[in-house]
C-alpha cells in the first residue's frame, strides 16, 4: 500500500522544460488518471514516478519517503508500457515470472502467482507461447499479468490501450477496473483519451504543456471545469464555447441567436462586458415543455449523426455553429428547424482574459 506525493517536479531536456513544477498528492489506493493532449508531459511525469527518469528539480515521495534516488524495483512499482514491451524471446510464462525471479521469490510461489494471474486474465492456454504468436489483446493481457504477479506497491499504466481496437479497449477498461477493485493498490494511469479517463478514474488530473490544469473527481472536472482548456478537453462531443457580449442588461450570443438576462449569469460574470459561455451538447434540449425562464434559440440542423437512441446534431444558428446531443425516438433530420432551450444553471461562464471559470 502506498501513497505518492509529487513536490515541485521539474523536468528539463536541454533548453526545453517539459514539466514546470508539478505538485500532486495521490492517496493510498487511489486510481489516478493523468490525461491531456500529446506532448503535455503526462508520460514524462509517469516515468518520474516510476523511477525510469530523474527530475531536474523537486521530489517524488512514496509513503512520505523521498525516493528520488531509488530505481523502479526499489520503489516497488510495476509498469505496463504503451507498446507492452514483452520480452520477445521468452514464453508468456517466463515473461510473467521474470520479475519475480529477479526478486528471488521462491520458485513454488512464482508458479503459484503466475498460474493465478494467468487464470484471472485467461492466459492459461497461452503460457507456453511466445509474444509473436499472440494477438494484440492477448499481449496486452500478458503485459498486465506481468505487473499483477509482482504485487507491487503501485501500478503505473502508460497508455496501455492505445494500440487496441475500440471493442477490445472497452473490455480491457473493465479488466483494469476489476484489477484495481481486486487488489486496491494505488494506480496511476496515463491516457490521452478522455473517455478512458472519465470511466476509470477516482481522480482525473488534466495536464497541458507541463502543468496541471485541474485535478479532481470525474464529476467535478466535468461539472465544474476550472478553466477554458479543461472545459474544452473533457466531454465528448466537446463543450460549445462561444464569446458573449453584454448589451442593455442581457448577454447575447452571436447575432442575438441566444439572449439571456444578465441576472442569469453568476455574480462574477455579471460585471463583465464580454465573457465566454460554455454549453454542454447534452444541455441543449427541445424547447417544448422547458420552463419559460430558460433561454431559447432557433437553429437549423446542418448535420445529423444518428447513434441509435441519441444523435449528435451540428446546428447552424445565425453565424454560429453549435453541437447538441439529442435523446429520444423522434430524431431530427438534416435541414429541420429546431427550437432549443438551455437550463441557465447548467451554463459555464469563463473570463476571456484569464480563461478561468466563473462560478457563483
Amino acid at each position: 500500500m502506498s501513497s505518492i506525493a509529487l513536490r515541485g517536479l521539474v523536468r528539463r531536456f536541454g533548453a526545453v522544460t517539459t514539466l514546470h513544477g508539478i505538485d500532486l498528492e495521490i492517496a493510498d489506493g487511489a486510481f489516478v488518471v493523468l490525461v491531456g493532449p500529446s506532448g503535455c508531459g503526462k508520460s514524462t511525469l509517469l516515468r518520474l514516478v516510476a523511477g525510469l527518469d530523474q527530475p531536474s528539480a523537486g521530489q517524488v515521495l512514496m509513503n512520505g519517503r523521498v525516493v528520488n534516488d531509488l530505481g523502479p524495483a526499489e520503489r516497488d512499482v510495476a509498469m505496463v508500457f504503451q507498446n507492452y514491451s514483452l520480452y520477445p524471446h521468452m514464453t508468456v510464462r517466463r515473461n510473467l515470472a521474470f520479475g519475480l525471479e529477479n526478486l528471488r521469490v521462491p520458485p513454488g510461489q512464482i508458479a503459484e502467482r503466475v498460474d493465478e494471474a494467468a487464470r484471472v486474465l485467461e492466459l492459461t492456454a497461452l503460457l507456453e507461447r511466445k509474444p509473436a504468436q499472440l494477438s494484440g489483446g492477448q499481449r496486452q493481457r500478458v503485459a498486465m499479468g506481468r505487473a499483477m504477479v509482482r504485487q507491487p506497491q503501485a501500478f503505473l499504466f502508460d497508455e496501455p490501450l492505445s494500440n487496441l481496437d475500440a471493442q477490445l479497449r472497452a473490455s480491457m477498461r473493465v479488466e483494469i477496473k476489476k484489477l484495481h477493485r481486486r487488489n486496491g493498490r494505488t494506480l496511476v494511469y496515463v491516457t490521452h483519451d478522455q473517455v478512458e479517463a472519465m470511466t476509470l478514474a477516482d481522480i482525473i488530473v488534466v495536464m497541458r504543456t507541463g502543468r496541471i490544469e485541474q485535478a479532481g473527481s470525474p464529476a467535478e472536472v466535468f461539472e465544474r471545469p476550472a478553466n477554458l482548456f479543461v472545459a474544452g478537453f473533457i466531454g465528448s462531443p466537446a463543450m460549445n464555447l462561444r464569446a458573449v457580449e453584454r448589451h442593455d442588461g442581457a448577454f447575447t450570443l452571436g447575432d442575438d441567436t441566444l439572449r439571456m438576462a444578465a441576472e442569469l449569469a453568476p455574480a462574477p460574470a455579471r460585471s463583465l462586458q464580454r465573457a465566454v459561455l460554455g454549453i454542454r451538447p447534452d444541455d441543449l434540449r427541445p424547447a417544448a415543455g422547458a420552463p419559460v425562464h430558460w433561454p431559447r434559440l432557433t437553429a437549423a440542423a446542418k448535420v445529423v449523426e444518428p447513434m441509435g437512441s441519441e444523435c449528435i446534431v451540428t446546428l447552424g444558428a445565425g453565424p454560429l455553429e453549435l453541437t447538441a446531443r439529442l435523446h429520444g425516438r423522434s430524431l431530427p433530420s438534416e435541414g429541420d428547424a429546431l427550437e432549443l432551450a438551455v437550463d441557465p444553471a447548467t451554463l459555464h461562464w469563463f473570463d476571456p482574459q484569464s480563461e478561468r471559470a466563473l462560478y457563483p
Binding site: A50, L52, A73, M79, N83, Y87, P88, P131, Q133, L134
Partner: protein, 276 residues
C-alpha cells in the same frame, strides 16, 4: 501483360543474368580449373576429363603445408572474430545505451571509421617492427591482434545498427522487473542481438579469412594463412595453376557456409512481437 511491360521485364531479367554471370563466372572457372589436368588448363579446354590430383597433392603430399595453413586461417579467424565481436558489441552498447555524451560517441565512431578507411598497408610496417620488438614477431598472437583491431570499427558500427533495433523500452521493462544492468544485457539484450551477432560474426570471420597484406608481412611458413599460401603457388618460373585453383576452391568453403548462415539470420525478423 502489356508488350511494353513485357519488354521491361525481359530487359530486367537480362541485366540481372548478366550481373550474376559476371560474379559467378570467375568462381566457375576456378572450380573447373581445380578439377583439370595442368595441360587442360594451359590449353584452355572447356571439355575435360575431371581429376582430383590437385586436391590429392594439396592435402596429402608431404611437401604441402596446406592443411596447416587452413588450420592457421581457421584459428586466427575464429579467435579474432570472437574478440572483435565481444569488444564491438560491448563498445556499441556502451556508446549507444549508457550515458555517453553525444560528442564523445560521435568522436569515437568517427575516429573508428577514419581508422577503417586508412589503407592497411600504411600500418603494416609499424606493426611488423612493433611485434618484433615485443617478441611477438610472426606469431599467431600478432596476427589475431591485428585482425581484431582492423575489423573492430566494422563490428562497432554493425552491432550499433543491430542494437538500435532492440527497443529501449525492453531494457526499461527489465529495470522495472528488478533486473540488474548485467543481467539485462545478458538476458534481454544479448538474446535479441543473436541474429546481428551471427551476421556480423560471419562477416568478420570472412574478412579475417581473406586478409592478405598484413598476414603476408606478419607470418612465417609455420604461421602462414591460406591467402599467403595461395600466393606462393605463383612463383617467378613456375605457376601451379591447378594446385592454386584447388586451394582457392577449398578456401571458398567456410566463407560460403557462413554466408548462407548469416543471410538466414539477417532475413529473420529481429524483434518479432516485442512491440505492438
Amino acid at each position: 501483360m502489356r508488350p511494353r511491360m513485357r519488354i521491361a521485364a525481359g530487359a530486367r531479367l537480362a541485366a540481372l543474368t548478366l550481373a550474376a554471370l559476371a560474379v559467378l563466372l570467375p568462381f566457375v572457372w576456378i572450380v573447373a580449373a581445380s578439377f583439370k589436368y595442368e595441360i587442360d588448363i594451359t590449353m584452355g579446354r572447356l571439355v575435360f576429363s575431371p581429376t582430383i590430383v590437385h586436391f590429392d597433392e594439396l592435402l596429402f603430399s608431404r611437401g604441402s603445408d596446406f592443411l596447416r595453413n587452413y588450420a592457421n586461417s581457421f584459428g586466427v579467424a575464429l579467435v579474432s572474430t570472437a574478440l572483435c565481436l565481444s569488444a564491438g558489441t560491448l563498445g556499441a552498447y556502451a556508446l549507444d545505451r549508457l550515458d555517453t555524451p553525444a560528442w564523445l560517441r560521435h568522436a569515437l565512431l568517427g575516429w573508428s571509421m577514419l581508422y577503417y578507411m586508412t589503407p592497411q598497408m600504411t600500418l603494416v610496417g609499424s606493426w611488423y617492427v612493433l611485434f618484433r620488438q615485443v617478441g611477438l614477431g610472426e606469431s599467431y598472437t600478432a596476427l589475431v591482434l591485428t585482425h581484431t583491431v582492423m575489423n573492430l570499427p566494422m563490428a562497432l558500427w554493425l552491432m550499433g545498427a543491430f542494437l538500435r533495433d532492440v527497443p529501449v523500452e525492453l531494457e526499461e521493462a527489465a529495470r522495472v522487473d528488478a533486473c540488474g544492468p548485467v543481467k539485462t544485457f545478458t538476458h534481454v539484450v544479448l538474446p535479441l542481438l543473436r541474429p546481428g551477432l551471427l551476421a556480423t560474426g560471419a562477416l568478420l570471420f570472412i574478412f579475417s579469412w581473406n586478409e592478405f597484406a598484413v598476414s603476408l608481412a606478419l607470418t612465417r611458413n609455420e604461421t602462414a594463412t591460406v591467402p599467403v599460401a595461395l600466393a606462393k603457388f605463383a612463383q617467378d618460373f613456375d605457376m601451379k595453376y591447378g594446385a592454386m585453383a584447388a586451394a582457392a576452391t577449398l578456401s571458398l568453403l567456410p566463407a560460403l557456409l557462413l554466408l548462407l548462415l548469416a543471410t538466414r539470420s539477417l532475413v529473420r525478423g529481429l524483434t518479432q512481437g516485442a512491440l505492438k
